[in-house]
Structures are given as C-alpha cells and as structure tokens.
Symmetry: C2
Subunit: 192 residues, 2 copies
DNA sequence: TAAAAAAGAATGAACATTCATTTTTATTTC
DNA sequence: GAAATAAAAATGAATGTTCATTCTTTTTTA
C-alpha cells in the first residue's frame, strides 16, 4: 500500500510554468497543454494536483501573494519611527519587485484584470496590515497626511508596480539611483 | 450601384460592446458571438467592419486613447506656469477617469496586460507629449524634480488609474474631496 | 503486489472565422 | 414617382480548430 506521495517539485513546476506563461500571454491564452509541457508533465497530471485551471491560477496567486508579504515584512520593526518603518517596508517592496519581477508582474496582472476569483482576491490590501497600522500611527503623530489609505497606497506603493511594467516592456531601466529617487518621491507624497 | 454605406452606428456599437465585455471578462474570455449579440448584430457582420478579433480590440484601444488625449489637453494652455499647467492637465485626467470610467478601465487593462499588439501600444506615453514638455520646462525652471519622466508619471498620473480600479472593485469611493487630496499629493510628489 | 501516480489518447464543448443566402439600399429607367 | 436592378450589407448556419477535462492503461512506489 503506497503513501500519498505527490511530488512537491511537480506542483512547484506547475505553478512556476503557470506564472511564466500567464505573464507572457495572459490566462485565457495559456492552454493547459502548454503549462504541462513546460512543467514536463502530462496534461492529465495537472488534475492530480489542481481541481481545474481556475484553481491552478488561484493557488498560484495566493502562493505568490504570501511570498510577497512574507518577504516585505521580514525586516520590519514595529518600534522604529514612522519614517524609518516606512523606509524599511518600502525598500523591501522595491527589492521584491526588482529581484522577483516574474512574481510582481504576475501579482500585478491578477490585481488589474478579472482573472482571479473575487474571493481569492478579496484578501487584497489586507495582506498589508502592518503597513496600514504604521500609517495609522503616522497620522496620529502628524507625520503622515490625514487622507485615505487608498490614496496613500496609490501614491507611495503602487507606482513601483508601474515602473516594473515599464521596465518589462523595455521602455525604462530601474537602476539603484532610480530606486532612491523613487523612494524619496514616495515619502514626499505621503509625508505631512 | 450602391455606395459604400457601412453604418458608423454599428461600428460604434461594436466598439462599445467590446469595451464593456473586455472590461468585465477580459479579452480572451469574450467571444465574438457575445460582442455581436450585445451590439445587435450577427457575428458575421463584425467581419465587415474589422479584420478579426485582434483588429477589433486594437481599434477600440486606439479610439479610446485618442478620446483620452483629446479630452485631457483640450483646456491646456502652454503659457500658464508649470504648476498651473500641471493642475490643468491633471484635473482633466482625473475628470476623464471619473466620468468615463469604462474607457479608463479599458485603457488600463490594455496597458497592463498582453492583449494589445506591441505596435498599437508603442504609441503609449508618447500621446502625452505636452505633459512631457511641461515637465521638461519645470525641470529647467527648478520647479520639478530632476528625475526620469517615468518616475514622474508613475507618481503623479498613474495613481489615478489605481484609484479608479479600487473604486470599480467597490473598495473605495472617489469623492470630490479625495480628488483634491489626490491632486495635492501628486504635486507634492513631483515638485522640487 | 496493491495502490497511487502518471501518461497519452479520446471526448465534447466553445469559439473564431468563412460560406451561401437573403435583405437592404441607392441608382437607373421608364 | 414607381418598378427594376445591381451591388453592398447583413445574416444564420456551417467549418475546422483549439482546448479543458476525462478515460483507460501503464508505470512507479512502498
């Protein structure tokens, strides 16, 4: 009698292939057969690991989102000043976007199009709770503008994704200098 | 012998249906048959007006993009100060996004995913030439930060799209007050 | 050796596009 | 101004393909 032994490697390869193919062609233009081929697996095998195509993408999304938040808050220290705390988080976000741009592009596509289930997406910004808490504190201390979190996010965090896309499309190269400029710009936009 | 008399109304209805359906389901999840039905037309008729599905979307994109830039620069006056000029343009962009959110959502989806031909997209930011010229002047006058246009765009213009999406997903409502806050934030982020 | 895992081929649905006809339109002829 | 007509415009029904998913068989594993 055999134990349940589905290979985690195969699952990972499938998720990886999905991300890469969806990044380059979009969800509906990516056939399961191609995902299978890229993961060196038969199409039928995908269904041992995932219910169906939608489930595969949802799981890819949640997995990448988790990697993202884990990375972003790893170095965060609640006792730092608001400005320092913001810098810690912002720079980690930038680092993730630059070093894992396959992931960040994928997240971005999921956030901007209707490919992900509402339930799977609803988690959304809530993953960023520590950042929201930091802003709350900043507003109380009078260091951060007393405006909606959505606006703070739109101006200080979302631009990073935009710059990644511009870079992916080869219009722009995101250098160290740019990152520093972008950080200062982000801070200028939300500081009181 | 009859004159060429393809109905502009029909063409418009097809473009409108395409925008609405692509907004809600994405390009590949929108069948031609549905577009036809929504435009009250037979599927075969689409091919009298457009070469194929890709051509239909490309044309929709270019048409909306043109509407956008026409609207945005309509009130612009080259002789205004940099700050005033920026405010004129920014507020028109915001107005367009709010009043024509079907259009702005569509443009955003085209800019963030691989559904549009590279050639059709390449026009991209270049449509915004007057804004780029204004920034150039602002940098010379020492009023605008001397940083890449991509960064200026990412921080002062792109956030509007993000806020639109948040609104479309029902997470947020973009009120007059928010628009004013957002404008000041945009200016803070790019002013020297 | 028995159960799980994997595979390739088969199935059936959905879809973009084309085809063969019908309908509309505008002009011409009386 | 009505009837005739020829070309464009529009249509609904094919066509052929692509694809997600399932089925049956083979291979691997414990």
């Amino acid at each position: 009698m055999a134990k349940l032994q589905k290979s985690i490697d195969k699952r990972n390869a499938l998720i990886k292939a999905t991300i890469e193919l969806v990044n380059n062609s979009g969800f509906h233009a990516t056939p399961m057969s191609k995902i299978a081929k890229m993961a060196n697996v038969s199409p039928a095998t995908i269904y041992l690991y995932f219910e169906n195509k939608q489930d595969l993408v949802n799981q890819a999304y949640l997995e990448v989102k988790t990697k993202y938040t884990d990375f972003v808050f790893k170095t965060y220290n609640e006792r730092a000043s608001v400005k320092t705390g913001f810098e810690l988080i912002w720079k980690r976000i930038a680092e993730f976007n630059i070093n894992e741009c396959e992931y960040s592009f994928f997240l971005n596509q999921c956030n901007n199009t209707p490919i992900i289930d509402e339930p799977s997406r609803k988690e959304g910004i809530r993953h960023l709770q520590p950042l929201l808490d930091l802003w709350e504190r900043g507003k109380k201390e009078g260091v951060i503008k007393p405006i909606s979190d959505y606006i703070l996010y739109a101006y200080s965090i979302n631009p990073i994704s935009y710059l990644m896309i511009a870079q992916k499309q080869g219009e722009f190269e995101l250098t160290k200098v740019h990152v520093e400029e972008a950080f200062l710009t982000a801070w200028d936009s939300i500081k009181r």
